[in-house]
């Protein structure tokens, strides 16, 4: 409690929804940052869920900023330029709610998180070819969005640090615990404070608006997601290729290598990764025709894009490509040698959809070790 000889009464400032929003945002942003900056592909589902939740919280908070009461309302805290200037030069009364600088932080965080959600959807649709925008975008857009997503994510990290710094500074300056106030919702009412305008929240309208927005976004997202996605890997595997190539290893999808690599590979079957894999000329020609007809150049997927640049000294070895090295570099070599994986070439051991050529981050599961 306060050390003052004449404590001021505490009054409600932050309603329950503002507080739930704030701490919900803290949790979801933290989880998104951890999984985004440090997690591998297997964490994508968690990353999407937390990022989507953060965006949903922001949208709901915006609605509450219109229909909420007291200090929750944008009208209460979004500053006019003159008011902002007065505050910065110290000629301002105390704000129980957001002060003008704090208000700018609120707006900046909202914009940044919505930008993250939008760029995230573009990455999902363009790079991973999933979700509502998969039918509209390609890997080029997805890749660019990824750069932007990372930049905005760093921006959010900076905003968070600034926010924390601002809270500490203001708490010290005004001799109150602002973080505690966001838990209890209470702050001291002091003489000279700017008085609240007493506007009552319109909870019913807020709920209806949020429900309508949710319904529109969810149904819109679902409808858009159901559209056919162009430039996808060929789905039906040629039976001859499956029989011949699949005899010794998983059937590597033709979209994983450019046509030239397939041609080089088929020209050297007598020394095929350390073994003789001879096929009679007619069958070999048929297989090569199918492989080149469905090669990396014919699709627009992340695996095709990243594997279309083979290592010069190993033009058809996926595990030697810079992209493969980068994506798997954190995994220990012993993992690839133990049962039931046995070798780097056994993609299907961990990637359930390896033979489709899609390599979805949602289809990754590293198996427990078995006896050989």
């Amino acid at each position: 409690m306060t050390s003052r000889s004449t404590p001021f009464p505490e009054v409600p400032v932050w309603d329950i929804w503002v507080r739930l929003f704030h701490w919900g945002l803290v949790a979801t942003v933290a989880l998104s940052a951890l999984t985004g900056f440090f997690g591998d592909a297997r964490w994508l589902a968690v990353h999407l869920a937390s990022g989507g939740t953060a965006a949903a919280l922001v949208l709901a908070r915006i609605v509450w900023g219109v229909f909420g009461g007291g200090h929750a309302r944008f009208a209460d805290f979004v500053p006019r330029p003159r008011a902002l200037l007065s505050h910065v030069i110290g000629q301002d009364h105390r704000h129980r709610g957001h002060n003008p600088v704090g208000a700018l932080m609120v707006l900046a965080v909202f914009v940044a998180i919505l930008a993250l959600a939008i760029t995230g959807l573009v990455i999902l649709g363009g790079w991973l070819r999933l979700g509502p925008l998969a039918a509209d975008l390609g890997t080029g857009a997805g890749h660019a969005a990824r750069e932007l997503h990372e930049a905005v994510a760093l921006g959010v990290a900076v905003l968070v640090l600034m926010h924390l710094g601002g809270v500490l500074y203001e708490s010290r300056r005004s001799d109150e615990n602002l973080a505690r106030a966001m838990v209890t919702g209470l702050k001291e009412a002091r003489p000279g404070d700017i008085e609240p305008d007493g506007v009552r929240p319109r909870a019913g309208r807020a709920v209806k608006t949020i429900a309508a927005m949710a319904a529109m976004l969810l149904s819109g997202g679902l409808i858009l997601s159901m559209r056919p996605v162009p430039n996808q890997p060929v789905a039906a595997i040629d039976p001859l290729t499956a029989e011949e190539c699949g005899a010794c290893h998983m059937v590597f999808h033709p979209s994983l290598l450019p046509a030239r690599s397939w041609q080089q590979l088929m020209a050297g079957l007598d020394t095929h990764f350390g073994e003789n894999a001879w096929i009679d000329a007619g069958d070999a020609a048929e297989i090569e025709a199918w492989l080149t007809a469905n090669a990396a150049e014919t699709v627009d997927t992340a695996p095709a894009r990243i594997f279309a640049q083979p290592a010069p000294e190993a033009p058809f070895t996926l595990t030697e490509t810079p992209a493969w090295q980068r994506l798997h570099g954190t995994l220990p070599e012993a993992l690839f040698n133990r049962a039931p994986i046995f070798t780097r070439a056994n993609c299907a051991a961990c990637h359930a959809d390896a033979e489709t050529g899609r390599f979805s981050p949602f289809a990754i599961s590293i198996p427990k070790e078995t006896t050989r």
Binding site: C248, H249, M250, D270, T271, G274, E275, N276, A277, W278, I279, D280, A339, P340, I341, F342, T343, A345, N346, A349
Partner: protein
């Protein structure tokens, strides 16, 4: 009745189409080509030996097929290979094209050369007797 007879005949013919040979016929063919009877003991020795004259990663038949042909083997990429012994896998040695293809590949990988007809006869004779 005629239709039923015809259908039965067609059904009876179907399996024959899927199997154009048998271990015994293959052995007879290779024996004739080699001019000598098959020797299962020699086939066993050849199959189980480490040769070192072929490609470095495949020094022996047992590299993939293991030393127990009645059990499943495993490719170097971890894929299961069905047993080689016909007693464990009746589909073995029933397709000339397939048999010749795999002898062609694996003899080169293991021995560094083509197998002779005599060697083929020996190996099939041994595997068929397990």
């Amino acid at each position: 009745m005629k239709r039923l007879t015809l259908c039965l005949a067609m059904l009876a013919a179907a399996p024959a189409l899927a199997q154009d040979t048998s271990p015994a016929r293959l052995i007879a063919g290779y024996e004739a080509e080699a001019g000598t009877p098959a020797n299962p003991a020699a086939g066993k020795a050849l199959f189980l030996a480490t040769h070192g004259t072929g490609k470095p990663d495949t020094p022996a038949c047992t590299t993939c097929h293991t030393d127990n042909p009645r059990a499943a083997g495993q490719t170097r990429t971890g894929k299961t290979i069905d047993p080689l012994a016909p007693s464990a896998n009746p589909d073995r040695f029933t397709d000339v094209k397939k048999v010749e293809k795999w002898f062609g590949r694996n003899c080169d990988s293991v021995l560094g050369r083509a197998c002779t007809a005599a060697e083929k006869a020996d190996i099939i004779a041994w595997l068929s007797g397990l």
